[in-house]
């Protein structure tokens, strides 16, 4: 269909409206009692949800832009498994009780620091010229991911069963047990990453054309790839440290954004992905809390829907 019949701006406004509705519903639906308690209580949770939605949506879209691939998510680089290994190591080494007693702010810094450090080491290959190909880099990430997963699996078999239960709980993405004290740090990190993204924003559409065309059009492809990878790492680490690993969610919102937006420009796709992520997370959490009374975890539903979408997307691609 021609772009004129479905202006991108209008679609974006509709999404923004839906997101606002979700946010208002989340804040007000079924609230009894004192507003001075309800607003800060739900507000913190809302902020966390929005931060995570933003981080996951932006990181996935950026990652797909530099890899020129729409079924990859940053999760493939082994971030989630590294998170898992880190948690397992802590519980294994220190025991569940000590691990739970660590100040969450320290924990957060350790998590974000390790994940960023790991990927920086990985990306150094790109700089030093050992690995020129981004796809090779991703493959290395996949291999590392498998290694981390096997190591965690091994340690989890050795662990005390009681500790294991605690560990398992930590490994499921949870949107209910977000620590408010981490929000400020996360918001600052995400804000810094966004500033970085803003500086290279005009190159993103060109990057999406592929390496050769981008270079021919004068974009420093290697430098931009590097910057984007670092931004993605920070965003993914923040979201993983806040709520735990989420695999399919980014894939879901990024691809929905590509489908729903008539224009492929980042100016439209990025905000669309963020808004869709907010709608899914905040709306989903609202429905879950109010309708189902916390009977199930949001992440399970989202991963289920995301996984289904992923399979459908693959099947559609295969039939073409």
């Amino acid at each position: 269909m021609p772009p004129e019949t479905r202006p991108s701006g209008m679609v974006l406004s509709l999404m923004a409206l839906a997101a606002v509705v979700c946010v208002v519903a989340f804040m007000t639906w079924g609230s009894r009692g004192n507003w001075s308690f309800v607003l800060p209580f739900r507000g913190t949770k809302l902020l966390a949800l929005v931060l995570v939605a933003y981080a996951i949506a932006v990181s996935t879209v950026l990652f797909q832009t530099i890899t020129n691939n729409r079924i990859l998510t940053p999760a493939i680089m082994g971030f989630d498994w590294l998170y898992m290994l880190l948690q397992t190591l802590l519980v294994f080494g220190l025991g569940a009780a000590t691990t739970s007693a660590i100040d969450p702010r320290w924990m957060f810094l350790i998590e974000v620091g390790t994940m960023t450090g790991f990927s920086l080491i990985l990306y150094r290959f790109l700089f030093s010229g050992g690995v020129r190909d981004l796809h090779l880099l991703i493959l290395i990430g996949v291999v590392f991911g498998t290694l981390f997963r096997s190591l965690s699996g091994f340690l989890q078999r050795l662990i005390d069963p009681n500790d294991f239960v605690v560990l398992q709980d930590r490994l499921f993405a949870s949107f209910n047990t977000i620590d408010a004290s981490l929000l400020l740090v996360s918001a600052v990190l995400v804000g810094l990453a966004s500033l970085g993204a803003l500086k290279i924003f005009h190159t993103l559409d060109v990057m999406a054309l592929g390496r050769e065309t981008a270079i021919s059009l004068g974009v420093d492809h290697r430098r931009i790839t590097m910057i984007v990878l670092i931004l993605v790492t920070v965003l993914v680490s923040v979201s993983a440290a806040l709520v735990g690993p989420v695999t399919f969610f980014g894939l879901l919102v990024a691809n929905l954004a590509y489908i729903l937006m008539p224009s492929a420009k980042h100016r439209y796709v990025l905000p669309a992905a963020v808004l869709l992520a907010i709608i899914c997370l905040v709306g989903g959490q609202t429905v879950l809390e109010r309708l189902f009374g916390f009977d199930t975890a949001l992440s399970i539903i989202i991963e289920f829907a995301g996984g289904l979408f992923f399979i459908l997307y693959l099947l559609k691609g295969a039939s073409r």
């Binding site: 021609p2 772009p3 797909q64 020129n68 691939n69 729409r70 005009h202 559409d205 060109v206 999406a208 054309l209 592929g210 390496r211 050769e212 065309t213 270079i215 021919s216 059009l217 004068g218 974009v219 420093d220 590509y258 224009s263 492929a264 420009k265």
Partner: protein, 252 residues
């Protein structure tokens, strides 16, 4: 002027381009021909800084392509590769508009729109401007990419097998277009071609590569001869003079 000095490129132990030194003067069409694996595309990619060279330098108007900022070079030299698959859904007009990126950094001006319209018209794509690339035939898509390169409006334009996917009518139109661009706007066009006769009829100069080395360089009258072609491709050739053009026959 493009000065190529001692360019060498190898992958592991296989030497793909072997100590090539040559000078491409400004203006006109230069064709690069040679058998498969002769290093034609690799050489073109090195000139356009898509692949780093192991040894040697490429200077475009005195600028070293390995050291000059990408955005500066993008206003002097453009390249179109063979396979341009794309994951984003773009309209033809959007794609062509990217040709102006080196000048406007993504903020198109009225002047850019003029360039875009001109490039679309030049390739007969006016009616397809609003169509998405994945709805086009291979030949139409190829022309859309060429329109983008024209829109980039650089002095030097490199094309890696631009006639791929084109039927005879469009292949001839494409070569005429490149010749006109060279003649009317003083552009320097470098093309890798597989069809010896297109090279013979349209080039001002032909470069022959064999086994990664520069084999011959000269005007079509010197290159399109039975003995040189036979040495290049390793099969028998006849060359006929037809209406002032030298036509190679190699089907027998």
């Amino acid at each position: 002027m493009i000065e190529i000095r001692n360019i060498t490129k190898s992958y592991d132990s296989t030497v793909v381009v072997d100590a090539v030194t040559l000078t491409l003067r400004r203006g006109g069409i230069t064709s690069i021909i040679g058998p498969n694996g002769a290093g034609k595309s690799t050489l073109l990619s090195i000139i356009a800084r898509l692949i780093p060279t192991d040894k040697g330098t490429v200077m475009v108007d005195g600028l070293d392509v390995a050291r000059t900022a990408g955005e500066v070079l993008a206003r002097r030299l453009s390249i179109l590769r063979q396979d341009n698959h794309m994951t984003t859904r773009l309209t033809v007009r959007d794609l062509v508009a990217f040709g102006r990126y080196p000048y406007n950094k993504g903020r198109p001006t009225a002047q850019d729109q003029e360039h875009i319209n001109k490039a679309l018209a030049y390739l007969g794509l006016e009616d397809l401007g609003g169509r998405f690339l994945d709805e086009l035939s291979g030949g139409q898509r190829q022309r859309a990419f060429v329109a983008m390169v024209l829109c980039q409006d650089t002095d030097y334009m490199l094309f890696d097998e631009p006639l791929n996917n084109l039927d005879i009518r469009h292949a001839v139109a494409m070569m005429k277009l490149l010749r006109d661009a060279a003649r009317d706007f003083g552009k320097t066009v470098v093309v890798v071609l597989h069809d010896v006769n297109f090279a013979s009829c349209y080039s001002d100069q032909i470069i022959v590569m064999r086994d990664g080395k520069l084999f011959l360089q000269g005007p079509p009258s010197e290159i399109i001869r039975p003995d040189t072609l036979q040495q290049t491709y390793g099969c028998p050739f006849e060359v006929h003079d037809l209406g002032g053009d030298r036509i190679a026959v190699y089907y027998a």
